[in-house]
Symmetry: C2
Subunit: 403 residues, 2 copies
């Protein structure tokens, strides 16, 4: 894409009301715009990034047999009364012209469980794995962490339905692996820890995926022996010991909760009476699991993890473009040819055809953070080469180029 | 995909509370599920269909230079006060824990105009065309037409920004053409009419795209001479005459408003003070247009247009799969091979591997409405052929097949 045609305007300064690194860089780079606290518009560059995150998550969910659905945001409040979650402060509530009371969805057990009940009748209908990538709403009192905690945000939520607990546990382990694949493809694997968290009334533990970050709102306790982390709630219960090896010397780190998986067992199938007939025609209750990943939060976390003082450093699979092509000086003809050639080779190229100084172009390139920068200039052409630089390296390389 | 793995259960009878053909068939076929009046969940088959509609719309918007954004659903009410539209009954309103008042977006002029103002400073930044495919909310008193009128629905809205009215008019005509391409690809071209509608305070006319349908809530007046339609509001103003040729004999038809385009001129740029510096450094106001297509409504309209007493008849580009492969009798091995061969050839295949009678499978195939049905049976294999039938034709054909 030609940069002159792109709806983007980079800013030297971040807006004063933004405190988080991710929001500052995303706004300065023209990826998002803040409409109001905790509510962001995604601009064309930001849409390209979020689509990449979505694609990765979608592929890994399909890989483990997930089927994509899209559930509504507008829920009848009565569904939430059935699970006794209608008093949660985190929900936006509203009333329709038809006098009906609605809740804006921040999670979807209250919708997906009765839905599954219409389709699951027999053991032959199980297991089922349904996921969606959808907009969620949370009535946060405060929202100051950019994409890390929004009032409106994008999330992937997967719900699984099983004939028994054993089958649920097997799938739960599969999702763990799929999640680590997602974090790997997003460049976050080394910084992301499976973390023991409270399992609520039905399980001893649930699991969070916590990504180390100075800007995280959470604190986790790392046990090097067990290669696991423990969240604050559990560590208090366990009196500062690793609940597995009982070791006491744990490393405290700040982190962002980028995913969570939860063995719901029958917490939601019971109130909605979600049951099935087994092989012996006996009516049995369905076991459920739920598994979340914040899509927009993941985008924010990636920036918290990958940036420097000059801007964002996108991991390859997340980057809005593969190559940022920058002509300097009178090289328009050669640059246009290179632009077309690179695209023909299958690269996504952002071509900075703007009438700006070399300094401005290079500063913007660093801010936007595309993995590979290619500079074509009169000087480089005299040497029959172009200058390439990876965003995450300091060294400039020269690549032979015959026009 | 193997049908035994698909999250789908067809119904013989439509739910009693559904009146519209589109909702009845979509629910019976397992494409959608009703959560509450005017609010539907999209199931895996339905997601495949709506993604096809989205893809067509996206391609045609990109073709005319549109850039994709995603704007929030949660708007600060103050933005709506600035345009004096904060009293519209069609809006859902809600209050945050932070005491802030919000509106759920049913259109996005109040968001996109101030956003554009941050990026448009000079004539060099114009024109700009921003579109999104996003979930909208309308506080409808009644909702009984399935996907034709929802409280929560998916829409494509495009907003254009221009230096002057002439440029706006040129783009307006481009969008008209792009819309007809979309309707053509959705199989609706012959039934869709450009329709004169009221232009509000700023233009004499706006234009609707009305698709003929018995179940439509609208009425249009067709003029064969001008090959145009006129909506009810305009026809009243014009005393039942065509406003162009003054002809009085017009044909009345029921129709669904599937799209609309509107020359906003300065209706929204004025309250948000959206201006730019022209070549002479003079501050000038920006001219705007807006252009909508209901994505979910289009899906519903296609069914209203293409169905028979047995089920849906999807147009090729919209269909959830290209081929519905149905084995009858003991032909599992041959059917599986054919399933893989057809996929290798690039077809999207739904393979009915369920343990059901021939009658049930064929009835379901007619209901689901995939364009091409292929039946492989012991009988057909003896003749070294498979039986093919197009959903929109009566005739069964035989195709040579060597296992």
């Amino acid at each position: 894409m030609k940069q002159s045609q792109l709806f983007i305007k980079t800013l030297k300064e971040a807006p004063k009301d933004e405190q988080s690194i991710n929001a500052k860089l995303l706004i300065r780079g023209g990826f998002v715009d803040k409409l109001t606290a905790g509510v962001y518009s995604y601009l064309p560059l930001g849409v390209r990034v979020i689509r990449n995150v979505e694609r990765i998550v979608r592929e890994e969910m399909n890989q483990i047999g997930g089927q994509e659905v899209v559930l509504p945001a507008l829920h009848p409040e009565e569904n939430w009364r059935m699970t006794k979650r209608d008093k949660e402060e985190i929900m936006f509530k509203l009333k329709g012209a038809n006098k009906k009371e609605y809740v804006l969805g921040w999670t979807h057990e209250e919708v997906v469980t009765p839905l599954a009940g219409k389709f699951i009748k027999s053991y032959k209908d199980l297991p089922v794995y349904l996921y969606q990538i959808q907009t969620k709403f949370r009535n946060e009192l405060r929202a100051k962490s950019g994409l890390l905690r929004g009032r409106e945000f994008s999330m992937k939520d997967l719900y699984s339905f099983h004939a028994d607990e054993k089958d649920l546990n097997l799938f739960y382990e599969k999702v763990k692996k799929a999640y680590f694949k997602i974090f790997k493809r997003c460049g976050l694997k080394d910084k992301t820890f499976l973390t023991l968290a409270d399992g609520g009334a039905f399980s001893k533990y649930s699991h969070e995926f916590q990504t180390l970050s100075e800007s995280g709102e959470d604190e986790i306790y790392l046990c090097d022996k067990c290669k696991i982390a423990i969240n604050k709630e559990i560590i208090k219960q366990e009196k500062n010991r690793c609940p597995i090896c009982r070791k006491k010397k744990l490393v405290i780190e700040k982190s962002i909760e980028t995913g969570n998986i939860f063995s719901l067992k029958t917490r939601f199938s019971e109130p909605f009476n979600l049951s099935f007939k087994d092989e012996k025609e006996q009516e049995k209750i369905v076991f459920m699991g739920c598994y979340g990943i914040g899509i927009s939060r993941l985008m924010g976390t990636i920036i918290e993890a990958y940036h420097d003082e000059r801007g964002i450093i996108w991991p390859q699979e997340i980057a809005p473009f593969d190559i940022h092509l920058i002509p300097i000086g009178r090289v328009k003809k050669e640059a246009e040819k290179l632009y077309h050639d690179l695209q023909k080779e299958g690269n996504q190229v952002l071509y900075d055809d703007r009438d700006k100084s070399a300094g401005e172009k290079l500063t913007d390139a660093d801010l936007i953070g595309i993995p590979l920068r290619m500079v074509i200039s009169e000087k480089s052409l005299q040497k029959r080469c172009i200058e390439t630089k990876k965003r995450d390296e300091k060294k400039v390389k020269f690549k032979k180029y015959n026009r």
